[in-house]
Symmetry: C2
Subunit: 230 residues, 2 copies
DNA sequence: TAGATTGTTAATCGATTAACAATC
DNA sequence: TAGATTGTTAATCGATTAACAATC
């Protein structure tokens, strides 16, 4: 009965499998092999089979996986089977973008409310979602049993928001603020720091560039030295 | 002379170290130990030392690291020493949010232009950054030797944009569109799929919830069975 | 039965952690 | 010299890959 803990790497791949299955189902494809899913996802077929096998034997040997059945299983594993309500803190550009993006692209998760400190924004709406003052957050979270929240407020306000929401039932946070949040044990924080992600990409762009330059130079000078490269 | 390839995990941590150093320098702190950086970052001191050691011996035994010296080193390693110009495709909510967010938070990278298909947006500005029609992208990329681009267009347009920009010198892409881009070999793509990240967080929220419920139930019924949990 | 593909176990690979000698 | 902290090597841990028996 005791659950072995599944690694983060596996959990991160599940929504990707889910999206692929959604697309296949939309195209009325009823059966899929790990090999086909490998092509769509870029992960190896072995890895896909192994990931799924952590949770059960969902396929049919010789045939593959029934798309709708596997989709339902993954929805269940992630916990997307019941309607998930989430709230966003911060109605700035990022909060607004995320709210709209999510409404358009995420069939499994509903943004129930947006909270902002700025009283001028309160009462307005992002699409159909109302902006509330932050003082009403505690009550809203408790009444609606919100477990997941998105933080899209300025860095200076983020820790305060984190303290508030973890005190009122939130156990998982998607954090866009560029700081390391301190949260009570058991609360899961995923940092989606866009600046950091962009910076680390630069490494690959310059490396690529330097590699090419080096290659050109070496090639021009001396063909034999090519063997030394890589 | 041959460069051992450094793992992605290491590269992803470098911008975090950089931010911590920036903050320390702002507070006029001139020396920092791996232990202190560990506290700020959440990574172990051993890991920080090991990460840095891949690139050289930047510290002083017995003392620690000189903040400004280490910052310069990391800036160099990532490739942020010269001004990095990037461009964004898509002037929708996400593109706009990212443009503004980057201008405010990222001292190392400049958004040089935003491109959009929608002619009504062309000529407008996001902060000080002008929106151009997508037909002008090829020329702009070449003339300004843009190596890094951000894709924030609808899923259906993303592959087309990727084809266009990789044909004109872009070698690293931050992709917000929810599809797997096909790119020429050597081009680095980092997917920042906000929907997927939010979905995978749900797993932790429900697990946490179930764990708590289980715990409460067990505790109420029978104290001795507590030992079986976890 | 023959062909295909899963599920699982074993082997490999890579990344993190621990330990400690070097040295400021 | 004594105390502190790095840089590096070795040990451990975990994740991916390979192989193949099970079975549709």
């Amino acid at each position: 009965m005791s659950k072995i803990s599944i690694s983060k790497s596996v959990i991160k791949r599940l929504p990707i499998y889910l999206r692929i299955l959604d697309q296949l189902i939309e195209r009325d494809i009823e059966l899929v092999s790990s090999k086909q899913m490998s092509k769509e996802s870029g992960f190896t077929a072995e890895q896909i089979r192994k990931d799924l096998a952590y949770f059960g034997a969902f396929g049919t040997r010789g045939a593959g996986y029934t798309t709708s059945f596997l989709r339902d299983k993954i929805i269940n594993i992630i916990g997307l089977d019941k309607t998930i309500n989430t709230v966003i803190f911060g109605a700035g550009h990022l909060g607004t973008a995320f709210t709209r993006y999510n409404a358009a692209k995420n069939p499994y998760i509903n943004v129930a409310a947006v909270f902002d400190r700025d009283s001028r924004l309160v009462g307005k709406k992002i699409d159909d979602i109302r902006i509330y003052p932050i003082d009403e957050a505690a009550e809203f979270l408790e009444q609606n049993r919100i477990k997941v929240a998105i933080i899209a407020v300025p860095a200076g306000d983020a820790q305060g928001v984190a303290d508030l929401i973890t005190a009122h039932g939130v156990v998982a946070i998607l954090n866009f603020a560029p700081i390391k949040l301190k949260v009570p044990p058991g609360v899961y924080v995923h940092n989606a720091d866009l600046t950091l992600e962009l910076q680390s990409i630069i490494y690959y762009s310059s490396e690529e560039e330097e590699r090419k330059k080096r290659l050109r130079k070496e090639n021009g000078k001396d063909k034999s030295s090519k063997l030394l490269i890589e």
